[in-house]
């Protein structure tokens, strides 16, 4: 079963958190693999990986997703042993762990799509279960040099892997230090608490362990935290990160020639001179560089959407207010001040809107963190040597754009490795380095667009082969070549490859970038030197729930929020006549009925009412009064990405924009109230849609 039981309502929050756990687990597993290959231990990544799976298992148990519980359980069990063995894993364990993560990810996606998680594959569970003994065999029988001052390092309170980590830092020429932080209500009120301190110190040092101390060990304070670190940072910077005195830094390195003190030692009272007991120095904390708790907050996207909806309601209300003021002005009332306030109000709404949109922004770097794992898998599947370079900086983009863009990038990266890059032998024969390069960079443009460039140094696109496969003349420009590549179903491959399948799928990439996101896709290619794809996508898009319907043989969409009711037009009082107007009964009252087909066809002289009989009607408020728009057929409700029609020539009152319903065809998104008003000559400009979209 999936997500049933007592906690079913937590499923969306569960999915969001599990996504994050998986992302961090993948990062850690890559770090582990890297270390395994170099024959090193990676205690921190192993521990983090273990913890992520442990949390995942517990959460999945709560929401009753047994397949994920079992996979996570066996992964966790072997990682627990590896953690105890100082963070060492045998090379043979990496592949099953990768598969385990993939199996979990697949099931999370199933749940996200409202399906049931499929049962965990028995073969995989067996392989994972068999990891435990392998991990134990790989554990080193260690004999390490004594380097730590056991007393200062609270050796008795450290796990072997933590001691090893500290010693490893010393061996690598770093400093192993103990840094104390004394919490207090005053400090907490200023945003300086153990969580923010950890964040700040983590920027300067590897935190191996944090120990709470009380009594004498805390130097007179009721509570102190000792942070055990490996770092190259200066004492002053570290002290500053914990908010200054009372705090101290102390080396954990044993004095030259000192033997390791025997095991069980009580924490020693710290050096009194270095730890002045007493009040917090307020002037220190008032310094500007003491940042407020810059914590992160996780918010469900649906809550942001909700805020956006409220804002939309505000905008609609403002339009009404504007009209009311305009009416007052016309009637000769003194409205100068009112108009000024309205203008101010408009600016504030725009600011609020961009503030909410900013909340939806995610770091591009976070979006792309799956790519290294993808390339890793491709490396194994194709046997090619590939280096992935990511140059993403701090750019951010809207979550909705990111979610749509990622599949397109995955596609392009896969194509690059699978088709564009040559085998190491071919590359060497061509005088290239055996290792192929895939380079992805991105930066935000001032125009509100994000530009991503994906470059490979592979063989380049063979225009002749593409032309032959497409049965078309050889294209004479890069654009024409890209057009050919984007033909549905085109493939220059004789056989399907295991990773990319047969089709290049460039048509899908183009559809996502151009049709769905309203962006641009360009390509440059040079035979033997490589191919570069450039994607420009808007940083944000407008998402809305829409009712999709058919009218006079075409499909249209309209925002759900603008439609008051859907009715059958059975109760027609007076059918639409030649003027396209009629009356329909709704709960005993007559409502004007407009033939949408007629309205849309107003320019031509054809008999529209004959075309669109109008079995259903959408009721929309137009200047406060209900109006029914007759349509032929309702097709359903779905979330759409609204693409505003940027071109002023195309911009029409009553058309809010266009969207792709998934069929690659542009579908117009109507604003019925504005359309009716504009076409029936009551009002010149669309107020609502125009304002919202611009």
């Amino acid at each position: 079963m999936s997500g049933s039981g007592e906690f079913a309502e937590f499923l969306p929050a569960y999915l969001a958190e599990v996504d994050e756990l998986l992302a961090s687990a993948q990062r850690d597993l890559l770090a582990v693999e890297d270390a395994v290959r170099k024959g090193q231990a990676q205690p921190r990544a192993v521990r983090e990986l273990f913890r992520a799976l442990h949390t995942l298992k517990g959460l999945s148990a709560m929401v009753d997703v047994e397949p994920i519980v079992s996979v996570a359980h066996w992964m966790e069990a072997s990682l627990r042993l590896a953690d105890q063995a100082g963070g060492r894993l045998p090379e043979s364990s990496v592949e099953p762990l990768v598969e385990g993560l993939r199996a979990i990810e697949l099931r999370v996606r199933q749940l996200g799509a409202g399906k049931t998680a499929s049962p965990a594959p028995t073969a995989l569970l067996e392989r994972l279960e068999a990891l435990g003994p392998q991990v134990l065999d790989a554990a080193p029988k260690r004999a390490r040099p004594v380097k730590l001052d056991a007393e200062a390092a609270f050796a008795s309170r450290l796990a072997p892997s933590e001691r090893e980590q500290l010693e490893g830092g010393l061996t690598a020429g770093q400093r192993a230090l103990r840094l104390d932080f004394v919490p207090s209500s005053e400090r907490a009120a200023k945003g300086l608490n153990i969580n923010t301190v950890r964040e700040r110190v983590a920027k300067l040092a590897d935190i191996v362990k944090v120990l709470p101390l009380s009594g004498a060990a805390a130097g007179g304070a009721s509570l102190a935290f000792a942070l055990l670190l490996i770092t190259r940072a200066e004492d002053a910077a570290l002290l500053d990160a914990v908010g200054g005195p009372p705090a101290m830094v102390r080396s954990l390195e044993a004095p030259e020639g000192a033997a390791e003190a025997p095991g069980d030692l009580a924490p020693a009272p710290p050096d009194g001179a270095a730890l002045p007991a007493g009040a917090v120095l307020d002037e220190e904390l008032d310094e500007p560089e003491v940042r407020r708790g810059g914590g992160l907050l996780r918010v469900e996207v649906s809550r942001l959407d909700e805020a956006m909806e409220w804002l939309a309601a505000l905008v609609v209300n403002r339009s009404r207010l504007t009209r009311a003021v305009a009416a007052l002005t016309q009637a000769g009332a003194p409205t100068r001040e009112l108009t000024a306030i309205l203008q101010e109000n408009g600016r504030q709404l725009r600011d609020l809107r961009s503030a909410i949109l900013r909340l939806r922004m995610v770091r591009v770097g976070d979006v792309l963190e799956r790519l290294p794992l993808l390339v890793r898998g491709l490396r194994r599947a194709t046997g090619k040597a590939v280096r992935l370079e990511l140059e993403v900086g701090d750019a951010e983009l809207d979550k909705a754009v990111a979610d749509r863009l990622l599949p397109a990038l995955v596609h392009l990266v896969r194509n690059a490795v699978d088709h564009a890059l040559e085998t190491p032998e071919e590359r060497q024969a061509a005088g290239k380095s055996p290792e192929g390069l895939v380079h992805l960079s991105c930066h935000a443009r001032a125009s509100g667009q994000l530009e991503l460039t994906l470059r490979d140094d592979g063989r380049g696109v063979d225009a002749k082969a593409v032309a032959k496969a497409a049965n078309a003349p050889v294209p004479d420009s890069a654009d024409a070549l890209l057009d050919l590549l984007c033909r549905p179903g085109l493939s220059t491959r004789q056989e399907a490859t295991r990773t990319s399948g047969r089709g290049m799928g460039m048509d899908i990439v183009r559809r996502i970038v151009v049709e769905q996101l309203g962006g641009e896709l360009r390509m440059e290619t040079r035979k033997g030197a490589g191919t570069t794809f450039t994607l420009s996508v808007p940083l944000t898009v407008t998402l809305m729930d829409a009712i999709v319907f058919e009218c006079a043989g075409r499909r249209y969409a309209v925002a759900v929020g603008t439609v008051e009711e859907l009715i059958d037009v059975a109760g027609v009082v007076r059918p639409a006549g030649a003027d396209g107007l009629g009356l329909v009964e709704r709960r005993g009252a007559a409502v004007p009925l407009v033939s949408l087909a007629r309205l849309l066809d107003a320019g031509s002289s054809g008999d529209a009412s004959a075309k669109g009989g109008g079995a259903k009607a959408l009721i929309v408020r137009q200047r406060g009064d209900p109006v029914a728009f007759a349509v032929d057929r309702l097709l359903g409700q779905q979330e759409i990405v609204l693409r505003p029609l940027e071109d002023p020539l195309v911009r029409v009152p009553g058309v809010a924009g266009a969207t792709d319903l998934g069929d690659g065809q542009p579908t117009l998104v109507l604003d019925l109230a504005a359309l009716g008003a504009a076409r029936m000559g009551r009002r010149k400009r669309a107020s609502r849609a125009g304002e919202w979209v611009s």
């Binding site: 007592e6 906690f7 958190e17 913890r51 517990g58 148990a61 153990i194 009380s214």
Partner: protein, 130 residues
């Protein structure tokens, strides 16, 4: 009005625990996302119940229990430990360190509510006697 401190690095898990315990009359909840944050919170304000995850990024639940039991003013703070299958060895250690109850995921709202009620009523009875 019982003050409850719920400690787990998973936000969903904390919210589930709060949802389970909310029906207990007038309880107030504070959430902490790490063992260290929990210890910090406990030093800043008195609590009537501590619900603690065993496995956390900085210091684990056991270390929190050990620390708490070493503090005079926290010696009698009721502690419920939330564990996951596979934590059996740690359970033993947590028990020795002085935890009062265990809840193993998946647990039901009723079971954790029952545990909380029993502990809170016991400590309020002790308080009125003492």
């Amino acid at each position: 009005m019982p003050e409850v401190l719920v400690v787990d690095d998973s936000k969903v898990m904390r919210e589930m625990v709060v949802a389970c315990l909310r029906p207990y009359p007038d309880s107030r909840f504070t959430q902490a996302s790490s063992g260290l944050e929990a210890i910090e919170q406990l030093s800043l304000k008195p609590y009537d119940l501590l619900v603690l995850d065993l496995n956390m990024p900085d210091i684990g639940g056991i270390e929190v229990v050990e620390f708490v039991r070493g503090q005079d003013h926290l010696r009698n703070l009721p502690i419920i430990i939330v564990t996951t299958r596979g934590d059996e060895a740690s359970r033993e250690r947590a028990l020795q360190a002085g935890a009062d109850r265990f809840m193993t995921k998946p647990f039901t709202p009723d079971s954790i509510q029952g545990a909380a009620r029993a502990l809170l009523e016991k400590s309020s009875a002790e308080a009125s006697r003492g």
